[in-house]
């Protein structure tokens, strides 16, 4: 479609404004992390690496980082196993209630975090009568992490159809051999992408986390929230926020590249 010159300028302008609104605040956070001002003031009076040095020595922040990574890894691992199994079941078999199961698996990503949070909090404490702890948090995260793994695996399995698996069985391979030699290699990059997305989702999750983490279980986002308004901590928080942004963006970028490259390979 050809656009007139005016239309192109206007659309370009709108795009610039929207992107600026999203990314300028990120830049501000970065500036704050190297500003000499202790409260998040604008414009920064001068620049220093003091906050980065202090952040590097902040035990709370590093414990929280460790906790976040551990929870994200565990939730992603659970999601990888269950998401793959669910995708195999739903793409390869016909059974009663299949559509509903599909919806139920995907729903957690659309549900407001606050609803998931309250529901799980109630389920853990009232229904099951257990103390909130790290594992309750991991399970809570796994509920929405499954979605990204499942969606990626399901899309890949549906795109390829059953032909490769049929060919494998025809050549004498049983179910497990077929999964090991054909289905899994074919799914690998989709699972990788799904797993990385799951990791990123879990890593910066705060709402569900608030409702399902046991006392003393502090993830990085929780730590930031707790420290944001404490005197002298604001610039350190900015430092952590920058780290958090980088840690979340990198897996996303890798995941996106994996998916694009594979879509290409599959279509060939």
């Amino acid at each position: 479609m050809q656009l007139g010159r005016v239309a192109r300028w206007v659309l370009g302008g709108i795009t610039t404004v929207v992107l600026a609104l999203i990314y300028l605040p990120l830049g501000v956070v970065f500036l704050n992390s190297i500003s000499t001002s202790e409260s998040l003031t604008w414009p920064p009076p001068g620049f220093t690496l003091e906050w980065w040095r202090r952040a590097m020595h902040s035990e709370g922040a590093f414990e929280a980082l460790g906790m976040s990574v551990m929870v994200a890894l565990a939730a992603s691992a659970i999601a990888l196993v269950l998401g793959t199994l669910a995708a195999m079941a739903l793409s390869r078999h016909r059974f009663f209630g299949k559509e509903s199961v599909n919806l139920l698996i995907v729903l957690p990503i659309a549900l407001p975090g606050i609803v998931t949070g309250i529901a799980l909090n109630n389920a853990f404490r009232t229904l099951m009568g257990v103390q909130l702890a790290v594992w309750t948090l991991i399970i809570a995260h796994a509920t929405f992490c499954i979605v990204t793994v499942y969606n990626n695996a399901f899309a890949r399995l549906n795109a390829s159809g059953t032909r490769l698996e049929e060919a494998s069985m025809d050549l004498g391979a049983g179910l497990f051999t077929t999964f090991r030699l054909v289905t899994f290699p074919h799914l690998k990059s989709a699972l990788m992408a799904g797993g990385l997305l799951a990791f990123a989702l879990s890593f910066d999750e705060i709402i569900v986390t608030t409702f399902t983490a046991g006392t003393g279980v502090t993830t990085l986002p929780l730590w930031i929230l707790q420290n944001m308004f404490r005197p002298n901590q604001a610039p350190v928080v900015a430092v952590i926020a920058v780290i958090l942004a980088v840690v979340s963006v990198v897996p996303l970028a890798i995941a996106q590249r994996l998916t694009a490259k594979d879509a290409e390979a599959v279509s060939r």
Binding site: R163, D170, G174, L181, P185, A265
Partner: protein, 337 residues
């Protein structure tokens, strides 16, 4: 002799759709057997039932005297060449061909040797390390063949294997398939919607329509004596004559199918007079449509291209006759499935 493949009372329903209706079929060992029919006629379903990808709703599949109806695809002594080849994209050509041997536990060196031999037999030596996406359609086709025959199956199932190839390549592959089948000496079951391919390659052809075999015979039987109007027009082309028209040509007064090459336009006497309505030049021959005088219908004739000097023209008067041996009396339309 015991048939290689015996289907008894085979019935397959998908929901409310009947894909295959009460099929009985015996296919002899070493036979090149084609299943020919339009899409949706059930031929591919029969192939998939033989391979084990589909469970029949009713009926049995016997391979070499053994009932395999309940066996999984990997437990059946047959292999398949798939329509889209279904090569494993993450494996090299040689690894694709080795696949079946690998899962059967054949040693590394032994399976490499066998796979290379199979690749050589389809004239693909030297491409071992390529990936499927780096091959042309014809090459992929050969890999798929090598991958199946390396396992020395008792029967090879081919699901429209040439459908994706262009005409020249298809003709070449037809010859190679036939040679391969002769040298292996195994049963080939070949599914196609291309009547030309079926007639060229097969020892016997089963014509499918709406889930049933409507005619079974040698290519000559099927082509020269189509049993009903569907077969007469699906396998090759025919002019269908009403009983009264057939009678006007001196044939028995029943519905009759006539192949255009059995129609003569310069009959000495006793022919039906007509006027040429259309002359279609196809290269090797002319397809000539004639308006039959006083009969209110047309007939198509085929004449070899003998050069421009012999070309007929629209409006020319001709005397039409039909070789009685080339006219096929038809049964009424096949019963609706």
């Amino acid at each position: 002799m015991e048939p290689a493949i015996r289907l008894r009372g085979l019935h397959k329903r998908f929901g409310d759709t009947v894909a295959v209706a009460d099929l009985d079929l015996d296919i002899a060992a070493g036979e090149f057997f084609s299943m020919l029919g339009p899409s949706g006629s059930g031929k591919t379903t029969v192939l998939r039932v033989i391979a084990g990808f589909e469970q029949p709703t009713a009926g049995t599949v016997e391979l070499f005297g053994k009932d395999v109806t309940a066996l999984a695809p990997f437990a059946r002594p047959v292999n398949t060449v798939f329509q889209d080849y279904a090569l494993f994209p993450h494996l090299s050509v040689i690894a694709n061909v080795e696949y079946g041997l690998r899962v059967a536990g054949v040693g590394r060196r032994e399976r490499r040797a066998q796979a290379e031999e199979a690749l050589a037999s389809v004239r693909l030596a030297g491409l071992e390390d390529r990936r499927p996406h780096e091959l042309s359609g014809g090459q992929r086709q050969r890999v798929a063949l090598a991958r199946a025959v390396v396992l020395r199956p008792q029967a090879l199932l081919l699901d429209e294997p040439l459908g994706a190839l262009d005409l020249k390549l298809r003709e070449q592959m037809q010859v190679e398939l036939k040679e391969l089948q002769r040298s292996l000496g195994i049963t080939f079951i070949f599914v196609t919607h291309d009547q030309d391919e079926a007639l060229t390659l097969s020892d016997r052809v089963a014509v499918f329509d709406a889930g049933r075999v409507v005619q079974l015979g040698t290519p000559r039987e099927v082509y020269d004596h189509p049993r009903n109007p569907f077969i007469a027009s699906f396998v090759g082309s025919s002019t269908l004559l009403e009983p009264a028209i057939a009678e006007a040509f001196g044939l028995p007064a029943v519905a009759t199918a006539v192949r255009p090459e059995r129609v003569t336009l310069d009959a000495p006497a006793g022919g039906v007079r007509g006027t040429i309505a259309e002359v279609i030049y196809t290269g090797p021959e002319h397809r000539i449509v004639v308006d039959l005088e006083g009969l209110g219908t047309r007939i198509t004739a085929l004449e070899p291209n003998m050069g421009a000097a012999h070309e007929r023209r629209r409006g020319d008067a001709v005397t039409v006759a039909i070789d009685p041996a080339g006219a096929a009396a038809l049964e009424s339309e096949a019963p609706a499935a």
